[in-house]
C-alpha cells in the first residue's frame, strides 16, 4: 500500500498547488475576465479533490490536511489585482498570461497522470473506494487540462502576433 499512499500524498499536494495557482492567476489577470472567473470555478474542483483525497487518505492511515482556507484578501492579493489593472492595458501582459496558462496546463496534466496511476492500481487491487474517487474526480482534472489548452489555442495567435 505504500505506493498508493505516496501517490495520494503527491496528488493531494498537486491539487492544493493547482488550487493556489488558479486563484493566483484569477487575481493576476483580473482584467482578463473569462480567465478570472473560470479560474475560480476550476479552483473549486481542486479544492474538493484535495478534501476528498484527505478523506480517502484516512483509510490508509495518512494524515493529509484538509483544504486550504480561502486565499486571504491579503496585501499580496490586493497587489496582484492592482498590478493586473495597471498592466491590463499593455500588450506585454499577454505574454505573462500565456506563461501562466502554460503552467496551469502542466500542473493539471501532472495531476491527471497521478489520477491515472491511482485508477490503474485501484482496478488491479479491486479497491472500490479508491476507484469511485478517481472516477468522480479525474474527469474534472481532464476538463481543467482542456480548458487551459483551449485558452492557449484561442489567445496565443493574437497575443503573440500583436506584440
Amino acid at each position: 500500500m505504500n505506493g498508493v499512499k505516496l501517490t495520494l500524498r503527491a496528488l493531494h499536494h498537486g491539487e492544493r498547488a493547482l488550487e493556489r495557482r488558479l486563484l493566483a492567476v484569477a487575481q493576476r489577470h483580473r482584467t482578463e475576465h473569462e480567465i478570472h472567473h473560470v479560474s475560480r470555478d476550476l479552483a473549486r474542483w481542486s479544492r474538493e479533490h484535495a478534501a476528498r483525497l484527505a478523506e480517502q487518505g484516512r483509510h490508509y492511515g495518512l494524515d493529509l490536511s484538509g483544504p486550504a482556507g480561502h486565499l486571504p484578501a491579503d496585501a499580496l492579493a490586493v497587489l496582484r489585482e492592482r498590478a493586473a489593472v495597471a498592466m491590463g492595458r499593455r500588450r506585454e501582459a499577454g505574454l505573462l498570461l500565456l506563461h501562466d496558462l502554460r503552467s496551469l496546463y502542466l500542473s493539471a496534466a501532472g495531476n491527471s497522470v497521478h489520477w491515472e496511476m491511482l485508477a490503474q492500481t485501484a482496478q488491479a487491487t479491486k479497491d472500490t473506494g479508491l476507484l469511485a474517487l478517481v472516477s468522480s474526480c479525474h474527469p474534472q482534472t481532464l476538463r481543467q487540462v482542456r480548458w487551459a489548452n483551449t485558452m492557449i489555442k484561442n489567445l496565443a495567435p493574437q497575443l503573440l502576433s500583436g506584440l
Binding site: T31, E32, H33, E34, H37, V38, R40, D41, L42, R44, G88, R89, R90, R91, A93, G94, R143, Q144, R146, W147, N149, T150, K153, N154, P157, Q158, L159, S161, G162, L163
Partner: protein
Amino acid sequence: METSVDRIAEPWGPRTPYGSGARWPARTDMYLRPGTGPDEVERWVPAASVLHSNGDAMDIAVARGRIVGVRGRAADRVNRGRLGPKDLFGWQANASADRLTRPLVRDGGELVETDWDTAMGRVVSRSKRLLERQGPGAIGFYTTGQLFLEEYYTLAVIARAGIGTNHLDGNTRLCTATAAEALKESFGCDGQPGSYTDFDHADVIALFGHNMAETQPVLWMRILDRLEGTDPPRLVCVDPRPTPVARRADVHLAPRSGTNVALLNALLHRIIRNGRVDHEFIEAHTVGFEELTARVRECTPAWAARICQVPAASIERAAELIGGAERLVSTVLQGVYQSHQATAAAVQVNNLHLVRGMLGRPGRGVLQMNGQPTAQNTRECGANGDLPGFRNWQNEQHVADLARVWNVTPETIPHYAPPTHAMQMFRYAEQGSLRMLWISGTNPAVSLPELARIRRILSQDRLFVVVQDLFLTETAQLADVVLPAAAWGEKTGTFTNADRTVHFSGKAVDPPGEARADLDIFLDYAARMGFRDKDGAPLVGWHDAESAFEAWQRCSAGRPCDYTGLSHQKLREGGGIQWPCNEQAPEGTERLYTEGFTWAHPDVCESYGKDLVTGASMEPAEYRSLNPGGKAVIKAAEYLPPHEDTSVEFPLQLITGRTLYHFHTRTKTGRAPQLNAAAPEVWVELSAGEAAQQDLAEGDLVEVATPRGAVRGRLRITAIRDGMVFLPFHYGYWDTAEGHRPGGDSGRAANEATITDWDPASKQPLFKTAAARIGLVERAAGTPAPAPTTTASAPAGTGGVPSTTGGPQAVALHTTEGRP
C-alpha cells in the same frame, strides 16, 4: 369588424379567440399619421418589423415621398396582420431631424462634416497601414442584429476573406449567442427546431426567462387568443418579475438570479423519476441520457428549492405539467441567455424536449428565441462568430468548401481558432493589439457591461473607431469616422425571424441627405480596398441587394439554412417563407428534426461542442466517438454558484432588462413620441417588502450602486421577487446634456453598474447576475416612477400611479372578420 384601440394603453389590442389546432384568425392592424386617410396613401411597400425578433410582416404606407404609416399583412404566417406598439409607432424615428446626413471625421479632437471620399479614404488608408504593419489581427468588425442578410454576408466576406481577420462578431453576442450555442450543443447545428404554428397546437407552453408579452407582443397575442379559445394551453413561467406572462401562468416560478441550472435539473429529475420519458425516442435519436440521469439523480425539488428559493411544491407542479404534456412548446430568452450558466441552462430546456420526445411534430417544439430582428442572419451569414452557412471552423472540409464558394485558398480564411467573440475583441482593443474597430448598427457605449470601461476603450488614441449608424449615438460621439447609414424603409433587403421565416423588406423612401445603405458602404469599402479572389477577380462580385442575395444563395446551397428556393421576387410577392427552402421544399420547411437529427453527424455538424462549465472546445475525434451516428446530444451540466453573489455591502441581486415600449438603446423608440412618452426615463424596481425594509417608497429618487458604478432613477414598487433590483437597460445619454456619458458620479444607463462576465460556452455577457446596494437620494414628494403600468413594471399597490395611456395619437385601427 373594425375596432379603434389606444395601443399604448392596450398593447396587445382586441382578442380573436381560437381553439387548439385551428388556424389563427387574421386581424389587420393599421396606424396612419393622424390626419392621413387610407385613400391618401400612394404606395404600400412590403417590409417586416425591425424592433424585435418576431418578424411581423407589414406594408409601409407612402404618401408624397414620405412614410406616413404601417399596416400588418393578414396573409403572413407570422402575425396574420397584427402589429405590436413598436411596429405601429417606431417608423416615425426615420424622419427625425437629427438623422446623420453627411459623413463625419475627427479633426482637432472634434467631429466635423465631410464628404464620402474623405471619410472612406481615412478608413481605407488606416486599414492598409495596419495590414502592412501588424497584419489582419489588428482590425476588427463589430456589427449588429439589425442590418439585412445581404449586408452581413457582404461584411463576412470582406472580414474573413478580404482582410482575413478572425475578429468579426455581432451585438447578437449580447442577445442570441446562447440560443445558437445551445442549439449547436444539442443538435450539432444552429437552426430553430420549432415553429410559431406550434403555439396553435400546444397543450402546455413553458416560458423560461422569456417575457414574451413585452419582447414579442404579437406572439403573445397568439397565446392570448389561445387562452381565450377552447382547449386553452396551460402556461409555466420562470421569471423573477411579475410579467404579463407570469400573471397568466398556471405555475409561476420566480427563482433567485443565477440558479436556472438548479431549477432545470430538478425539473429533469422529477420527469425522469416519474417515468415521464419517451424511451423509444431516446434510444432512437439521442446519446447521453445515462449521464443526464446520473447528473440529476440528487437534484430533488427540495434541493433546488433551497438554491432557487422557490417552493418545492411549485417545482413539482411545473414538472407535472411539463411531464404530462402531450404537445409541449418551450421558449427561452434573456432570463436564461444573460444569466449565470447561460448555455448550460438553455441546453437543459432542449433536454426536457429530448427526454420527452417532444420535437418535430405539431405543438412539440423548442424555440430558443432571438432578441433582435435580424440576429438569425448575423448567425447564418457568419457575422456572429461562426463561418457562413453554419460551417464548422474545426472541419477542414467545411473550410475548403467555403473557400471554393469564395474562390480563395482555404488558408485565406482564418480557422485556427473560433472566430473572436465581441467581448474578447474589446479586450484586445483594451490591451492594445486590436487597433481598428468598425462598429455598424450598434451602440456599445450603452449596451455593453461596465460602461466606464467601454468608454475608456473606445476613447483611446491608439484605437481607430469607425461608426456606421443612423444617428450620432453615444458610441458615434467617440468615433474617428462616422458614416451615415440608411434606415429600414430606405433600403432593400431580406431578413429572418426567430422561427426561420424570411421576409423581404423594401425601399419605401430615399434616405436623408448623403446617407447610404449599409450594403453600399460595405461594397464601396471592398472596391476601394481592391479585394481579389485567387484568380484576380473582385472578391465581392455583387453590386446590389438582389445580387448579394444570389451570392448568399450559392453559399447556403446544401446547408441547413438553404435559401436556394427563395428569391427577392418570391418573398416580395408571397410573404414570409421558412428556410430551408430549396428544390425539395419549395414552400419552405415548417419544422426541423421531423426525421432525426441529421445535422449532428460528425461530418456535417457545425460544432463539436464545448464544455458547458469551462467553455473548452471538444476535438473532432472526441465528438466522433461520443456521437458516431449523428444523434441529438443530451448534455448534462452541474449547477455552479454565481460568480458575483450578494454580500453585506451589496445585499441585492441586480438584473437588467427590457420594457415593451423600447428597443435596444432607444435610438429609434426614444424618437417615436408615443413610445417615448410611455417610458420616458429610467426607473428602478424593487418589491414592496424590500422597499419597506429599506424605508423607500414609490417615486423616491434612489441610487443603485455596484463596485463598477451607479445609476439613479425613481423607484417603482412591484411584485418582483424580494432581494432583487431591476433596471431597464435602454437609457443612455444622447438626449442628455452630456451626450455620451453621465454628468456626475451616477448615470442613467443600467450598464454603468453591470459586471464584465460572460458565459464560457456562448461568450454571452451576463446582465442578470450582479450584486448591488440601493440608497435614497431624494423623497418622491408625490412624483411616481416614470415606468409603464401596463407591463412587468406595473405598480404592486393601487392608487397614486396614473395608468399608462397614449391618447388620440396612439389609436390604431383593427380589422377582423365579423364574429357572432
